[in-house]
Symmetry: C2
Subunit: 259 residues, 2 copies
Amino acid sequence: LLTTSQRERIEVVLVAPRNPLNIGAAARAMANFGLTTLSVVDPFERTWREARSAVGAPDLLLNATESTSFPETLARCTLVIGTGSLTYRKPEQPIVPLPELSAVVEAELQRGGRVGLVFGPENHGLSRDDLSYCHLIAVIPTCDQQPSMNLGQAVAVCLYELTTRASVSPHQPVQPIPSAPILPNRAVSGNLEIMTGLIERTMLAAGYSPKGMQEANRHDLRLLLRQLNLTEHDARRILGLFRRILWRLERNPGGHPRA
Amino acid sequence: LLTTSQRERIEVVLVAPRNPLNIGAAARAMANFGLTTLSVVDPFERTWREARSAVGAPDLLLNATESTSFPETLARCTLVIGTGSLTYRKPEQPIVPLPELSAVVEAELQRGGRVGLVFGPENHGLSRDDLSYCHLIAVIPTCDQQPSMNLGQAVAVCLYELTTRASVSPHQPVQPIPSAPILPNRAVSGNLEIMTGLIERTMLAAGYSPKGMQEANRHDLRLLLRQLNLTEHDARRILGLFRRILWRLERNPGGHPRA
């Protein structure tokens, strides 16, 4: 079982939920499994109001953060996990079946990291753009005939796995999953996002990125930076380097940097 | 992962559900995890009608069995598992934390048994009487502050555990849990119930059971017979013996059986 301090470092993020009952159900599952930090990104206004005014809404729902910026919501997280059923597209991130996720999350929490667990809207799940902020995609092994889970139930199943399956018995030693990104002091998402913007600006300033390619570059950069498993120390050095490069490039546009 | 044939031998039983959305959610979780047999005992009539007429109700809900007899519903099961949160009473059955349940259920299915997974009504869960038909109680490890799960979410979490955690990885060999009743060819619930009635009638015929004690005896008998872990072979021999005893006793009431 996870400790209280570990549970406090798992954030649940709901992106654009449409049904107030599902927001309530997600909050209830969080209370059942001892989590406290809920963020809702771009909720439909009425949905959000109804969910929070429901009788018996748990405190964590009343304290939940509402945001219009998905990357800002995740800024403090060191491991961002998207959830999905993978029926209609091949994802660009590593996939971890949910039964193998608790070992990955526990390792991250044990070294002091902060985990974001992200759920997409009921109708179509997380977009390719949303997923570009995720290090991993967790997949619940459902049947091909009915792969898509109800949002509130998916949250409950994921939280059950993460909070109660970790080191559950002596037969199940916590082992890093080889394919999963396990490194000390992973960089926080906020710094990865600053890095994305900085590198992109650098590419532009260096005349390397044609305007038409900008969106695609940004997407690929996000993916790449998350697969590098940068430490926070790496991230700061890289930020420092690109800030310096950019400063030189932008002082001397179109020409060559002076020696 | 369980095979299709194993999944077909897990029955989900909802006792007196009150909210049609919860019945729908239970059915949807069953479809997600590949189960097909749903029984509903004593549903509120309107609840049941609304659940089945909901848009997108899965086939298994339309094919679900409605019953007024809990023991009849369970008659073919060889292992009956009640679910609950154990906050307000000390149960009379062995308790298995949900994360340890899949090994028990898998062993039962591997030897050809049939498993009933029983969920009580939303407001107060399974009664002491309902639980007397259960071999085990499975408990989801929730927080003390908010132990009680939503019914649809509890079903999803239990089915996730049972269908996807079984033999999930080489680190987690399937081992019989020592405290759990594991024996070949466990007797079906229907025969245990016939046995309960027969032994009770025998006690009465033998003048052993005062009328006032009858209810309590019946309850204790049910508990006892489930803890014995009788095989189907045992069950048939015991039934034969008691039928014979009863025939002799009832032919010769009040006196001594003739040689």
